[in-house]
């Protein structure tokens, strides 16, 4: 199997049903997506598969053979943040930071498929599968609205 992660093609050795999250973190050493629950409940592992947000922990790697995967590392660099990353940083939308990469990826997908201003209700709907136990939700929604 082959997957392209952040523009780099990788041949995958893990078995077919290995969760994409474990392939990224354990086989390829890409640790931006986090293992918060390994059962699809928290959203911390969210990556983009051909542009769509997916739970990497619930996605068997065989299901994404040949796909383009984007993790948070594939957005901006620390000295050249993407607009969503800039907004998260400037609006203090990260506290402990563990859920942040998942929120950023979901926000990135939302921003890409919408044009113009977003209603707060739309943002909340798009982020509703993500948990932040520091409960910084207001700042996160503010950041996405400003991105």
């Amino acid at each position: 199997m082959n997957i392209t992660v952040n523009g780099v093609q990788h041949e995958v050795e893990s078995s077919l049903l290995t969760p994409l999250l474990d392939v990224l973190r354990e086989e390829l050493g890409i640790t931006g997506p986090k293992a918060g629950c390994h059962q699809g409940g928290c959203g911390a592992c969210t990556v983009l598969v051909d542009g769509e947000p997916r739970r990497a922990c619930l996605t068997p790697v065989a299901a994404v053979d040949g796909a383009e995967v984007t993790t948070v590392e594939g957005l901006g660099e620390p000295d050249a943040l993407s607009p969503v990353q800039t907004a998260f940083h400037e609006h203090y939308a990260a506290q402990c930071g563990f859920c942040t990469s998942g929120f950023v990826m979901a926000a990135e997908a939302l921003r890409t498929r919408s044009d113009g201003d977003l209603e707060r209700e739309e943002i909340i709907e798009a982020l509703s599968g993500h948990l932040c136990r520091c409960t910084g939700y207001v700042k996160i929604v503010d950041a996405v609205a400003a991105a």
């Binding site: 997506p33 928290c42 940083h89 930071g97 563990f98 942040t100 950023v104 948990l131 932040c132």
Partner: protein, 467 residues
Amino acid sequence: MKAVGARLPRYDGVAHVTGRTQYVDDVRVHGTLWCKALRSPHHSALIRSIDTSKAEALPGVHAVVTAKDVPHNVYGHLEGLGVPADEPLLAEDDVRWKGQPIAAVAAESEEAAQAAVDAIEIVFEEREPILDIRSAADPGIDHFHQWGAVYPHFGPHNHRRVRKGDIDTAFEEADLIVEGVYRPQAIEHCPMETQVALAVPEPSGRLVIYSCTQAMYFSMGVVAAHLQWPLNKLKFIGGTVGGGFGGKVDTATETIVSLLALKARRPVKWRYTREEEMLTSSTRAPWHIEIQDAVTNDGWILGRRTLTLHDAGAYARFSPYGVTKHAFHHTGAYTIPHLRFDGFVVFTNRVPTTAMRGFGVTSVSLAVELHMSRVAEQLGLDPLELRLKNANRIGDTTGNRVVMHDPSTVPVVLAAADAAGLELGDEYRAMTPERRSGDLLPEHLVGQQAPDGEYLATYRGATNGGR
């Protein structure tokens, strides 16, 4: 003073939004083994036998540890504060809560480690569990804890006490007695990052420990005590915590991965599953709080009797400290001259409870504020005016005899009234935190006022049971 009042960027903000922050689970060390633990399937049971030989013989298994591998197995988190030890790192002759660690395995993969855990042969003899703090001290109960039903080491007492003024006279003189029972429940911290640690043996003989602890030097001391090592053989790397909220003070994983790493001579990592985190990690304690207030028809609280039961779970951990804080805050933001407080740390066969965001204080604050509103309702008074009348003022002394020089009750209640758009009478609207005088210095509060200018606190409750 460039930072105060300024909006500064978070020092770790760019790393967070780019996924560059390195949490413990993100550290990669070649040759790392995975840890899994054998945990008690019972709330309460004797361990009749344990045999790890089949587990040790499985392919990919590098080390198995039980209580006999721990140089100093029973170590108390608060021994430094005089709280004696009661909890083994790994269970010895009995298990006291469902999920208690008994043995741990280091193997090449998570699957191999779990297979080895499943291969450990253990025989239990189940006991009747104690799960309700209200009946835990009843006559005829067989106590599982060596100290009995309750934690007994509050100075000369088996519970935290506060005694102040003349409580019986206050209740005789009251127009009304207002009673309430309040039961805040357990809460799981549920950090997004589950408990995790990685121990790496160095050729020098030192151990490097990557830890998610909230308390670096505290956890370092706990590991050193269990290993019976000097601190200079441990190198802790931490400070990046994926949420803790108090639940990462207990040093849950660091010592066990250290023991396994030393035995296997390999790096060992333990990352709780989400299920493990929810079922077996410590929680905020459940409480049972009974309050009786002696009050006058015009809204003065003359005296308060409080009985508190704090559910410690199976071991003491930080519970005595939590109950002590609870005792200090049991009058809330209000001045009550006559007090009798009794707070018990009760042992049950539940997961041990621990620190969580103001533990001990939040439970009693909930109870006190609900009770203040109940008093107001029964007297037919405005709940905010009742609070303002009894509010702490400069020069008042708390239940444990601390003199207040900057109490914030009055401005906070006034601000809350404004925020909620509530009306207040003119005399209340004009209140300040200044020293009591006139109508706000009734006879029963005269003795509460420290001499003008006295700022020195006199702590008695902390050291001798608040007698």
